[in-house]
Symmetry: C2
Subunit: 604 residues, 2 copies
């Protein structure tokens, strides 16, 4: 009797923890499509079925396997045979010492099913005395993910969306160095990605090697690769000037990796997922100082890293334990310049706190301009300032807000300065010259502009001025269907307009199954993340990073030209840069312009 009861009960009450998920449960994407594999695959995954039919007629002209070097700005279609004419037999790269460069190869399986693996060789200098070890190279498959398209009016990509209302297609975006071999079914195309990080101590000169493409361990083709190492050194990423601010979401990482928040396992996963941001010279640590700073706009909303408590005697108390853990972790990854603390003006003006009296999480509803708002926030910010000073972080911490009206900003700034007149302030949003003096880190939307005089003044006083793109921008943008070259364009645009850098609101606010389907319930696909789980990069991200490297090279060369009085070179560089002003943006010329511009940078 007793045993029966307990057994029955166990069926009805399953033991679950928050953040503990069944490993074996089948995944489902945001479009409600079952993935046919376990939830949240990290090590290996199967791409979803291609919604586009294979154009059999086209393949009739491609009865052999086509293999060659492609272009890092291109997304090769899975169902389309790659024309031999668009590929090269050999690739010649150029790089500074310390730079990371990439190349893309393509295989179109015209003859039969293949089972591809890749073998790298060391790159050897002609003389034979010097080499770039293959340990500095990475081979990856380019993987396909589902995407959608712009809004039907082609004027943007904002707003709530249902998958059924948009065309879906597979798009080459994920750079997957984890999967060692990959099947290519006959009449399918598969690209691959090679990255080379030139060690700083490499001798200048020309290096050559091969990338061997194999099927079932038999060589299909040896692709020669050569790289000219220029006698210039690109500083380490952490020393780059470019102000790259991509908002990190540690909550998405905990969910995807099924770890308890802030546990050892969580930080281990974060180490992997935050790597690309550090490598690209990420400057700002995204910290949430309230619960849901952007309400629930991402699949994994941000909790507060600061614990707000109203004690039994009615006092406010703030605990920074989680904030500290996160900031210290990010600093250990090399992101040490800045901490952006979001936000005093959340989209829903409701502030969660733990109320000891009711023993529950409660919400305070108040807004800038109200006495209660001021009281609570002066208490919070004073406590925060004390804590930051103790940690030595006060100078690098910015109270950060985004996309709020000017009057609200002004009321809020009053409160910040009441708590501590030296608190730095960050704002991403519309152009309000009234706010310039108070905002130490001002990020304008792409189409807005600081005047030259303002930029000069801001730079002189140590203020940061950047720009951002969002769902409202058709192009350039970084949707999974955007041209990857557009991500490279960003940093060139900053260089052309005298801005310090670029901000994007989502580095890794992953959708349900980010490796399989980049579509979300809001905005066009890919808007919410730049990188993929498992430490996987993307065509978009690698191109972004290429742009950032170019920005650094531009600063170095400009400085040199100026010092040397090399006006000819300076003028030519400035002329090239005008191509990256917004009014000169031309979707069809971006890739060409970038290539020419890079060629120029590498000619010194």
């Amino acid at each position: 009797m007793k045993t029966t009861y307990l057994r029955l009960s166990l069926i009805f009450f399953c033991l679950t923890f928050s953040f503990s998920f069944s490993q074996t449960k089948e995944g489902m994407t945001h479009s409600g499509q079952k993935t046919g594999q376990q939830k949240f695959p990290v090590q290996s995954f199967k791409e979803l079925e291609n919604p586009t039919p294979i154009p059999i007629q086209q393949w009739k002209k491609h009865t052999k396997n086509t293999i060659g070097w492609g272009d890092t700005h291109s997304r090769y279609k899975k169902e389309v045979p790659t024309s031999k004419a668009t590929l090269s037999e050999k690739i010649n790269l150029q790089a500074w010492k310390g730079e990371k460069v990439s190349a893309q190869w393509v295989v179109s399986a015209g003859r039969k099913d293949l089972n591809i693996s890749v073998e790298l060789s060391d790159l050897k200098e002609k003389s034979g005395n010097s080499k770039i070890s293959k340990n500095h190279m990475e081979s990856a498959f380019v993987r396909y993910v589902l995407t959608d398209e712009l809004n039907k009016d082609k004027k943007g990509a904002c707003g709530h969306r249902k998958p059924a209302d948009f065309d879906s297609s597979l798009v080459a975006d994920i750079i997957d160095p984890i999967t060692p071999t990959l099947k290519i079914a006959k009449h399918n195309t598969r690209p691959g990605w090679i990255s080379i990080e030139i060690p700083k101590n490499t001798k200048a000169g020309s290096y050559t090697g091969t990338v061997k493409i194999l099927s079932d361990n038999k060589t299909l083709k040896k692709l020669p690769i050569s790289i000219k190492v220029i006698d210039r050194i690109l500083p380490e990423a952490k020393d780059w000037d470019f102000h790259l601010d991509l908002w990190q979401n540690p909550y998405a990482v905990a969910r995807y990796h099924q770890t308890e928040l802030w546990s050892e396992a969580h930080f281990k996963a974060l180490e992997k997922e935050m790597g690309h941001y550090a490598n690209a010279g990420g400057k700002s640590i995204t910290a949430s100082i309230i619960d849901r700073p952007w309400d629930g706009q991402t699949h994994d909303p941000f909790n507060s890293m600061v614990r707000w408590t109203k004690t039994l005697d009615g006092q406010w108390h703030f605990n920074f334990e989680v904030f500290d853990k996160w900031v210290e972790f990010m600093m250990d990854q090399g992101i040490t310049k800045q901490i952006n603390a979001y936000t005093m003006i959340p989209w829903k003006l409701s502030f969660a706190y733990f109320d000891e009296a009711s023993n529950k999480t409660q919400h305070l509803e108040t807004q800038p301009g109200e006495k209660l708002y001021e009281e609570v926030w002066v208490a919070m910010l004073s406590s925060f300032a004390d804590h930051l000073k103790e940690k030595g972080w006060f100078e690098k911490t910015y109270i950060a807000m985004d996309e709020r009206p000017m009057e609200t900003m002004q009321e809020t700034i009053k409160v910040i300065h009441k708590a501590d007149k030296d608190f730095k302030i960050s704002f991403a949003g519309a152009k309000h010259p009234e706010l310039y003096p108070d905002v130490d880190d001002y990020c304008l939307t792409l189409e807005s502009e600081f005047s030259k005089a303002v930029l000069k003044e801001r730079k002189k006083s140590g203020k940061i001025s950047t720009f951002y793109t969002s769902c409202s921008h058709v192009a350039p943008n970084s949707f999974t269907f955007s041209s990857p070259a557009e991500s490279e364009w960003y940093a060139w645009h900053a260089a052309a307009t005298g801005l310090d850098g670029y901000l994007r609101w989502a580095y890794n606010s992953w959708v349900l199954e980010p490796l399989l389907d980049s579509r979300f319930t809001t905005w066009a696909a890919g808007d919410t993340y730049f990188v993929y789980p498992g430490g996987r990069s993307s065509l978009r991200f690698e191109n972004l990073q290429a742009g950032v490297q170019a920005f650094e090279k531009i600063q170095i060369l400009k400085d040199e030209f100026e010092k040397a009085g090399n006006n000819e070179a300076l003028n030519e560089l400035n002329k090239i840069l005008t191509n990256f002003e917004l009014e000169n943006f031309n979707k069809d010329l971006v890739s060409k312009n970038l290539k020419e511009a890079n060629e120029f940078l590498n000619s010194f």
Copy 2:
């Protein structure tokens, strides 16, 4: 521009705190009926409209005002003229020193609208040397509240209910000493209530006085009242033997009085609202050690008085600050015998805790018999035991559960004893003799019975044995439509069956507007509360207390008879008590039996 924006915003975002309500908002009852007055009136309130039409024909025979003494067991109907024949001109009460006795007067306004107030006189002993000051007397109006009825099958009163499915009527139940004057419209009846607490030092003898009924300050009638004070002393309530356990709900008090939980204002309100429980010799403090021990069965669910926290490093931590405040407050009111800590087996097996990692209230789902359940509860109970020992409360604290299956209880008891083998246990529910040895405070449902031998054994070993009534009992019960005499019957039943006392699950789990409409969404009206806001008692509660006093008198007399070998009196008393065994319960004889039995107790 700025001003306009702020003004507009203020309209949309109103400043609200949890537990802060607008004082001027109109009330609404659980039946969705607007009350026509402010929410939660404390000082004065208007009764809701009488759904029963006035029987004008009956009033044609009552063209004068009828005024006289009625009966404390009767509910006089508002719309019905009281027959002069059922009232008395004079009332003769009897009491022990220290006892509280009551009388009910009735006015039926046959002639015109009245505006009633009441004037008490001191009660004077014949010799004129001694008196009972009117300071020991209380005058109150009996007020009408909406009620419903049993389930349509007349077999009980359990289950969810919609007001529309049941007949509603006004019923005389509230004893309201706060309202000084009250209008009686022509063709309406209004009772009043007089209580007298005989001071312990009163000289035995006969005391007389008057209760003057006035309208617009003109005397309508002088009602003579006399009381025979018997030369016996009833001990103080705190020293009574009767184990009265009515579950208190401090959360309902905070909501009704619109105070912050555990604030000074909350305790001030609690002082008023818990008074009747203390005066009636309440023995047990109801404490919640988890959130929602009974899920949301009451309008104001119980939060946890213990703060459960899972710290960032994954440890359990328990804070007893609120628990201590509540227990200390109740002890200050005179409730010092016992603390019942609910519960290890909530109806929904989900345990809320504050999770520092996610910075949120989370829920642990586990149940008795599971490893996780044992781990968490052993941690909790060990910490609780340490704390209770430090406070000197361990001996009086019972881990309390109710209405759970035996096997679940057995699994739970194992866990309790693992944490501390000396922890006391309380259980209210079905009869499981297997549990008798482990349950120190066992409350059976009315129709169950401990055997004489078990009761003897339990008493010997200091274990408490009581009974409870619930929605499943047609009568005796304490719905607002039950005969008030049935509440007096409880303690007589305990005396008759050798039980230690009585338990009821709700002392003050108030509905939305308890002073106006006693109906709730579940169970028959009045099931969820015995007393009314503002420190107001009820016909049910005053009769309950009368029964408890009788229980004490029975113990004293029995003891005396036994010591004196007065078998005749002992046998007569025992014979009288058989009337209060359940099998001899007769709804129509309860009042008569109680009067005779009280008469007997007062004859010694």
